[in-house]
Amino acid sequence: MKVLVTVKESADIADDFAVDDDGIDETYVEYDLNEWDDYAVETGVQLAEAGIADEVVGVTIGPERADETIRKALAKGVDRAVRVWDDALAGQDLLDVSTKAHLLAAVAEDEDADLVLSGVQASDDSFGATGVALAERLGYEWAAVVSDLDVNADAGEARVNRELEGGLQERLTVDLPAVFTIQTGINEPRYASLRGIRQAQSKEIAPKTPTDIGVET
């Protein structure tokens, strides 16, 4: 089966940052792979290593700069990636949940993904909504805040733990195809190996515009 992992470059701001009318000056901002997505990537790669996933595809919405972040996911074992962007998107201050869900859904449909893994939230804007909105958009099943995942591709379902408040775990079975938003601690994300880094250089990051994937923004 094919797994799609959504990854986002997330901004971290320095301790001594300053805010002006335009927001936070770029000099205080550093970008890295979103903490939660790192766990989602690891989940996807482990599914591939277990022979459950045939292909793990990464997708991001972001400018060219985000290639560096997505390359990290490729170095950790994601097979190839799609990056969606255009000037219109660049012109928006903040992408709303629905726009993101539309764009990611178009890619998921394009790729015919059986399973989509997303992070619970992005560490910068903390919306925590993209994965579930995406599932709705796709008409897939889903579970949010997943702390344990056991995919049974043959049975077309997954056994999942959702981490609730107070450390309580909810056990459930979810039909596939599905979107899961992955919680930190579900696994131990690997370091990118030199082999992975080398292979990542020749893995494809396909730049696409919303128009390419049939979305009007």
């Binding site: 940052f17 949940v97 804007d125 909105a133 599932a135 709705e136 889903w142 733990n161 408040e165």
Partner: protein, 320 residues
Amino acid sequence: MSDGDVLAVTEHRQGELRDVSLELASAGRALADATGGDLHVAVVSGDVDAYADELSVDGVDAVHTVAAGDEFNHDVYVAAVEALVNDLAPTQLLLPNSVDGMDYAPAVAESLDRPVVTDAVEVDVTDDGLAVHREMYGSKVETVISIADGPFAVTVRPGEFEPASGTSDPEVVAHDLNLDLDALGSTVEGYEAVDTGDVDITEADFLISIGRGIEEEENLELIEDLADATGGTISASRPIVDNGWLEKGRQVGQSGKTVTPTVYLAIGISGAVQHVAGMKNADMIIAINTDPNAPIFDISDYGIVGDLFEVVPALTEQFD
């Protein structure tokens, strides 16, 4: 229904209405007052009649009940909230930003084609529509998102709004959705409580809580020394537990324990909302952090802006 109505969807678990439900009621009342509408409150699944009684608090104009199954299931919630929205056409839809809220609110908003803003800490009505205050960068920055008039959905951060209280006599309307519960795409099979380990941090008087600022597992020794010197009990933020450096039972926060010690000493903890949810009711909060902008200082009674690797040994020495 008049324009400006608010529908707030409550939540419950294992037979109890969750705190955020009454907070949603008060947030909803404030909004409805500002826009001149009514406040509708909904409760889905479980013993809805009992919940409806509990939700008959000040400011609630109507309680809508949907009896379907016992516990939360997002397919049921999505269907129920969609049906209620179609029926009541509220301008504003308020949902909890709880773990269950995260599991259905974005889907509801998407299917209703309403813009959604999550994790609101304040919602104001302005001339231009709605101003939703929320936090970014681990609560270091507050942003305001404006939504022009029109139907929308907002999820509300638990613990930010005063719970509604008092009693009232709202109209209680039962809705029957005729859902086929066997045809749902996901089935909840049960719950597991987390193994708390040997120490119950909720019983401790003095908690010494450690976060990612400690950098390395080995450095926990510093904290153990302080705990030995002071008789404090060690707890932690989530990343420390995720890394396997301390057992899950030591985790404070939304997905860990809620603690109310006499003194909570937060060391190298930024004060992310999910952490604060578990400790903000401590009698006294003291924070040690190198970052003067760390949100933990916003809720601290005493703060030390400094490097824990210097401050902690110095503290230990004082007690030794």
